[in-house]
């Protein structure tokens, strides 16, 4: 993504941000929609468009879990592991998905490159615990290990999203 594309996205929302550096976040989220993660060029483009150094932009990106500085799978599956979900069986869901996708118990990307599994802290769906969110779509729940696996299989089979909003 280039700086002009980033500018075209943030210029209409510039007035909503009191501080110029606050624009870095929406700019990064938008820059990420192209490839699903941020490359060196994306960070430089965001730096140019927002007026901050690429190094500073990278430091911001590195702080957030949902901004990826390395390639991910086509779909990112966030499994909530915070208290309510944990009490309702999130650990079992997590372990089952990790085992099925062949990734370590810290999460990771499946061998076919289709799915990335990651832990999430509270997604605010405690009433539907244990819950799962695919990319930035609406969070769903409750899940059992089996229904979670079916959910991931459906994601794997579906065509890739046009833009990677995460």
């Amino acid at each position: 993504m280039n700086a002009d594309q980033v500018r075209a996205h943030i210029d209409p929302i510039r007035h909503e941000y009191a501080e110029a550096r606050s624009l870095i976040l929406p700019a990064l989220k938008f820059a990420q929609t192209e490839k699903g993660h941020l490359t060196r060029e994306d960070l430089e483009a965001v730096g140019e468009a927002t007026g901050f150094s690429a190094a500073y932009v990278e430091s911001v990106a590195s702080f957030y879990d949902r901004l990826y500085l390395a390639p991910t799978g086509a779909r990112v599956v966030s499994v909530c592991v915070t208290l309510s979900c944990m009490l309702r069986g999130a650990d079992e869901v997590w372990d089952h998905l990790c085992e099925r996708e062949g990734v370590s118990h810290h999460g990771g990307t499946s061998e076919d490159g289709r799915i990335t599994i990651q832990e999430a802290q509270c997604l605010g769906y405690c009433d539907r615990a244990p819950c799962i969110q695919a990319d930035a779509e609406e969070t769903k729940g409750p899940f059992t290990p089996g229904s979670a696996a079916a959910f991931v299989d459906a994601l794997r089979a579906a065509p890739d999203p046009h833009e990677f909003w995460r």
Partner: protein
């Protein structure tokens, strides 16, 4: 380092407050840490560093109890107020200090026995002084692959980092290179650059000085010495005319490290050094260092002892009319002895001259109230007239950036584009037309309360209109002060001693000299090198080179006497701000070499005229006694901080005016600190070297049928340059060519006139 800011206890806005039961005072608004330190109470700190800007309270080490305030307060970010009651040693404050240190040490490896910082480490010192003495942390600590190279000169041990942000603030706020950041969060936080690129910046070494732990260390000094092995000597840097105050670290007679001083000289460099001043000393060990005298005879070169070398020099000089040529970095002592030998009958009526920019015509500007670099901080307007300070006088860049941070406006004009132009409004002027640019600055200067005008010696000397305009501007603005951006390391000192830039060349050409001594001077590599080459080609007498490094002149000379470097000898240098400062030796140098002043004294002894002085200090006393600029000055008075010298009668030597017009191209030479011969020979600076190029506007290149990267030579009335690649830069004025002065092989010096950094040239493609 300079952890606490100096406090002016004589100020008139003092407030009185209670500190640990004592009644003390400090100016209102002083941060509590500084006020307490001035009152003799050390509040421990890590992230606080007054030179980095406003406090950020990141490390929490300075927590103190203040009556009436809830909880504990960070003393680094709390200004003192009247009747405040502060306790730094109460049980609550003590508990906080213990807690914070235990927290900082929880993830710290405690590998002090193998850490370069051990023994001079603020974390270690303050843990001993304020810490709990015991840790309850038994869990595994974090580990990183160690160390990583932040650059080829700086190593980063990430697990030692306490996330104080000092280095990040230096990079972002002081040097403003924008490269260092803190990435990730929590226990995974780490200092890094954009995608892990090397931290290549001209002031990068300062982060190793300000790191309060062993996370950032200098690679050339890694595992080289321990604090109890070393001695530190306060000295001054002679790499450029700024004269930064340095500290030389010596182990077993060898120079191992150069750092800023623990107590920085706020009038000069404020503790910051450029990477060249910090790491360039390894050229003293480079292969072209001269280590023994060489007598050049018809049958070949003969290496002799230093005693035989001096005796040979004396016999070459006996009965001959002598000329002495001094380089721009020669010390006051060396110049003073040369002048003394020329007048006291030792070398009868010897002609003494110096290499460097002739700027006697700038005397009217110099006569206006002078400023020190430290005065730039408090300016509300910084005016830069000509020059390229960021390249030629590096530390000036940090001062101007600091003034800008404090809200000063930065304006200026000049022919060359430079790094400080992004800080304000600059107008591009054609060479010889600086006065046009200054017209636009007059209103701003007269409306400012504390304007400081930085002017470039070499640019003004070639532009009489600019001298007149600037003199008038300064005369019309009673508050304005001026500061010269000098061209030669000791140019001010030599000119204050009355050493002229002319006389010797003419004397050699007219056959009025039978022998020449070059003291740290190489006319064959200096401006006007082709003209110098011509007179030396026709010169049949002996040439003696007192020099440190092999160069064109030491190849040509009949006798070479190896001299000591600025890190190995005593001496006095006068900076571009007229500040006399002392060099003190931090290394021994080769056994068969001696300081230039010692060699000159020894030659005088051999000539049967023992001078009245034996040491550098007595030579200094003898030298300054007869020169009005130095009246009353002693080495003791200069001390470690230096003294500003007085006025002196200007010589009347002025270079020719170089005025751009549509039919002529003008070459303006810039001595890029990181593009010169010295940097090119330094191993430590190998990744910092900037390549020599001819910079010109794309339209100028197009008019000359040149493409970028084509090679071209410059031809002037007096000679020509070597071929150099062309670099197009739209910021350069049209019709102007910016060339590299002092680059390896002296490519452009041949096209310049002697003692001038500008020339009218034509360009030929090669």
């Amino acid at each position: 380092m300079a952890d606490y800011a100096p406090v002016d206890l004589a100020a008139d806005n003092l407030v009185t407050f209670e500190l640990n039961g004592r009644t003390v005072s400090a100016p209102a608004g002083t941060m509590l840490v500084d006020a307490a330190y001035a009152a003799g109470v050390e509040i421990p700190i890590f992230c606080y560093e007054p030179r980095l800007g406003p406090p950020i309270g990141a490390c929490r080490m300075c927590l103190v109890e203040i009556e009436g305030m809830r909880g504990l307060q960070t003393a680094c970010s709390t200004p003192v107020t009247e009747d405040m009651v502060v306790r730094t040693n109460s049980p609550m404050a003590k508990d906080a200090q213990d807690g914070v240190l235990e927290m900082l040490l929880a993830q710290h490896p405690l590998d002090c026995p193998v850490c370069d910082k051990g023994g001079e480490c603020p974390l270690q010192d303050r843990t001993f002084k304020f810490g709990p003495g015991k840790s309850r942390f038994i869990e595994p600590k974090r580990h990183f692959p160690k160390p990583i190279e932040l650059s080829s000169r700086i190593a980063l041990d990430r697990e030692r980092c306490i996330s104080c942000f000092r280095c990040v603030r230096f990079s972002q706020d002081v040097a403003q290179d924008g490269q260092l950041t803190m990435q990730e969060r929590g226990a995974r936080s780490e200092i890094t650059t954009f995608t892990g690129d090397a931290y290549e910046a001209r002031f990068s070494g300062n982060i190793t000085d300000i790191c309060p732990v062993g996370a950032l260390t200098s690679i050339p000094y890694r595992f080289v010495a321990r604090p109890w092995d070393i001695t530190n000597t306060p000295s001054v840097c002679g790499s450029c005319p700024v004269g930064c105050n340095t500290e030389l670290t010596t182990r077993d007679g060898e120079l191992k490290r150069i750092t800023g001083r623990d107590t920085p000289n706020v009038a000069v460099e404020e503790g910051w050094l450029c990477d060249k001043g910090r790491w360039g000393y390894d050229i003293a060990m480079s292969p072209n260092r001269l280590s023994a005298p060489v007598v050049r005879e018809a049958v070949g070169d003969r290496t002799v002892s230093i005693e035989d070398g001096v005796a040979a020099a004396a016999s070459l000089l006996t009965g001959r009319r002598v000329g002495i040529l001094l380089g721009g970095a020669v010390t006051l002592e060396e110049a003073g002895i040369a002048l003394d030998l020329a007048t006291n009958g030792t070398l009868d009526n010897a002609v003494v001259a110096r290499l460097g920019v002739a700027s006697g015509n700038c005397a009217p500007v110099r006569a206006a109230t002078g400023a020190q670099l430290g005065d730039i901080d408090a300016a509300d307007l910084v005016v830069i007239v000509g020059g390229d300070p960021a390249a030629q006088q590096p530390i000036v860049e940090l001062r101007v950036r600091k003034a800008r941070r404090f809200g000063a406006r930065v304006i200026g004009c000049g022919a060359r584009p430079h790094a400080l132009e992004s800080l304000g409004d600059f107008t591009r002027t054609a060479p010889g037309h600086l006065a046009d640019g200054m017209m636009g600055l007059a209103d701003a200067i007269s409306n400012a309360a504390r304007p400081v005008v930085l002017w470039d010696e070499a640019d003004l000397a070639s532009d009489p209109g600019a001298i007149a305009a600037l003199t008038a501007l300064l005369a019309a603005s009673p508050h304005a002060t001026q500061l010269m951006l000098g061209a030669d390391v000791n140019g001010v000192g030599l000119s204050a001693l009355g050493v002229s830039t002319t006389g010797l060349f003419e004397a050699i050409a007219a056959d009025e000299v039978d022998a020449v001594i070059c003291v740290h001077a190489d006319p064959l590599e200096a401006a006007g090198s082709i003209a110098w080459q011509a007179v030396f080609d026709g010169f049949r007498g002996p040439v003696i080179a007192i020099a440190t490094y092999a160069s064109a002149m030491t190849e040509r000379a009949d006798l070479v006497l190896p001299a000591l470097t600025m890190w190995e000898q005593e001496g006095t240098l006068v900076s571009m701000t007229h500040r006399a400062q002392r060099l003190r030796p931090g290394a021994a140098g080769p056994a068969q070499a001696a300081a230039g002043w010692e060699l000159l004294i020894a030659i005088a002894h051999h000539l049967g005229h023992p001078p009245a002085y034996r040491t550098a200090a007595s030579a200094f006393t003898h030298t300054v006694a007869s020169h009005p600029a130095f009246f009353g000055m002693t080495t003791d008075l200069i001390g470690t901080d230096g003294v500003v010298i007085g006025a002196w009668p200007a010589d009347d030597v002025s270079p020719a005016a170089i005025v751009a017009d549509p039919d002529h191209l003008v070459l303006v030479a810039t001595r890029d600190t990181f593009g010169d011969d010295m940097t090119a020979r330094s191993h430590a600076l190998r990744t910092a070297v900037s390549a020599p190029v001819l910079r010109m506007h794309p339209a100028t290149a197009q008019a000359l049928w040149l493409n970028e990267h084509d090679h071209a030579v410059l031809i002037s009335d007096v000679g020509s340059s070597s071929a150099l690649p062309v670099l197009c830069d739209a910021r350069v004025a049209e019709g102007l060519i910016v060339g590299p002065l002092g680059a390896p092989g002296s490519p452009i010096e041949g096209a310049l006139s002697r003692n001038q950094h500008q020339a009218i040239v034509r360009v030929e493609r090669t």
